[in-house]
């Protein structure tokens, strides 16, 4: 499996292929291309596990995360992005953002 998560988070494995994405532009595009039903399915499954996931990743030094932990952290980043649509706007796109775009061109890794 390419996007394996730590065994402690096997319950989130069904979402890893879709949401364990390396960069914000990929995560943003995925959010915009998703229905609210899809976003809610991910959010409802993953949000209760968020704090445990952060604590799990936090056991490892930031610059040497094992691959499965990196996958989990990317899932956390996607959950953060999806939470904006679910908790704040009730739709995939920010309300009143019209045709505006803002491309993230640099971000720290991981």
């Amino acid at each position: 499996m390419t996007m394996a998560l730590p065994t402690e988070f096997v319950d989130l494995q069904p979402f890893a292929e879709t949401w364990s994405l390396a960069t914000e532009p990929e995560r943003w595009d995925k959010r915009m291309a998703s229905s609210m039903e899809e976003l809610l399915a991910f959010y409802d499954a993953a949000f209760p596990r968020l704090e445990a996931a952060i604590d799990y990743c936090d056991q490892f030094p930031l610059d040497t995360l094992p691959e499965d932990v990196t996958n989990l952290l990317r899932l956390v980043y996607s959950l953060v992005l999806v939470s904006m649509a679910v908790e704040i706007f009730g739709q995939p796109k920010p309300v009143d953002s019209a045709d505006a775009v803002l491309h993230r061109t640099r971000e720290p890794l991981p």
């Binding site: 704090e51 009143d96 505006a100 640099r106 720290p108």
Partner: protein, 418 residues
Amino acid sequence: MWPKPIEGSWTEHYPELGTGPISFEDSVSSEFYDLEGEAIFKRAWLNVGRIEDLPRNGSYFTKEIDIAKASVLVVRGLDEQIRAFHNVCRHRGNKLVWNDYPREEVNGVCRQFTCKYHGWRYNLEGDLTFVQQEGEFFDLDKDTSGLASVHCDVWNGFIFINLNAQPRQTLREFLGPMITALDDYPFGRITERYDFVGDNNSNWKLFADAFQEYYHVPSLHPQQVPSAVRDPKAGFVCAHFQCEGPHRVVSTAGSRRWTQPRESMYPIEIATRSGLVGPWQSPDLGELPGGLNPGGVEPWGISNFQIFPNIEILIYGGWYLLYRYWPTSPSSHRFEASLAFQPATSVRERVEHEVATVVFKEFALQDAGMLGGTQAALETGAVKEFPLSDQEILVRHFHKVVGDWVADHRRATMEVVS
């Protein structure tokens, strides 16, 4: 409630600003746009980057400044000195440094610059070092055929250029006491960067206007407060405004985020201890310069410095935001934004930075989406004058300074003609 100056308002504290309605003709007129290029962007010091953008000797980036019809190459030489040049080959005028498309900005590391057209080469200090078939040329003096230099100076890690052949002020004189009071602010320790760029269909000043007042926040961004505790009549009052020369600052008060009732925050904020105003807690930066909070606001929240003409630095507790507005036409500009944090030392800190960065984009897109509407409506010309409140004093100051620089330039040009 925050006390206003003795004159009764922030605006009247600066009598040259007046209190009458203002025109936004300066944001729709093509003629005015052309004048801004000459009067402002070819004369003011312009911030084009940070020293962290040039980490090594040989690091370079290019900057397209459409309104001034300039392409500038900024490079760190082998002597570590940062220099700026017009990005133009001295042979046939080709754009010297570009990758896939000539109009796209690029960055990288190199040992020399080679023109794609005929292979002329320049070293990192801008000297012409190689001419193909040099013997075929007539009276070519390589020693005086280096890249045309652009004035370049660095303040507290911010790289500024000036396109004027003879800048009227040094960078420090231009920045003045209110900005140089941040000399000792440790920007150099806040280097974990998230950068954004977006082309926006509004005049550069209209976009800047939206970030130099908070009067619009409850109306345009109601979602910044969860609906359960949202007050439809809520307003916003800033604690301190200050104008000095062409520059401005506004400070707001801040409350400790984690002391607020849980229902005033979204679940993602509580889970990650980060959100709208950034990480709830950032590592202590030690003693900070008094210039960070010139109004002595307590409890202090944010200071938002607008350095003329086109940048804004919003300093939060332990991190900052930087905006730049690059005009591309009377009705469009390129918006650049950076969020800068102290480098994360753990996954949890990195997640805090990601959350703050994600929230920033959501609400910046609301500003960006709406301002296309402002531009289009102003272009109808149906309304000529617009009232500004005391909370919008910095909008008033900004448009006045822009007008003053243009008028000053017009006068100077007319004197030369007559």
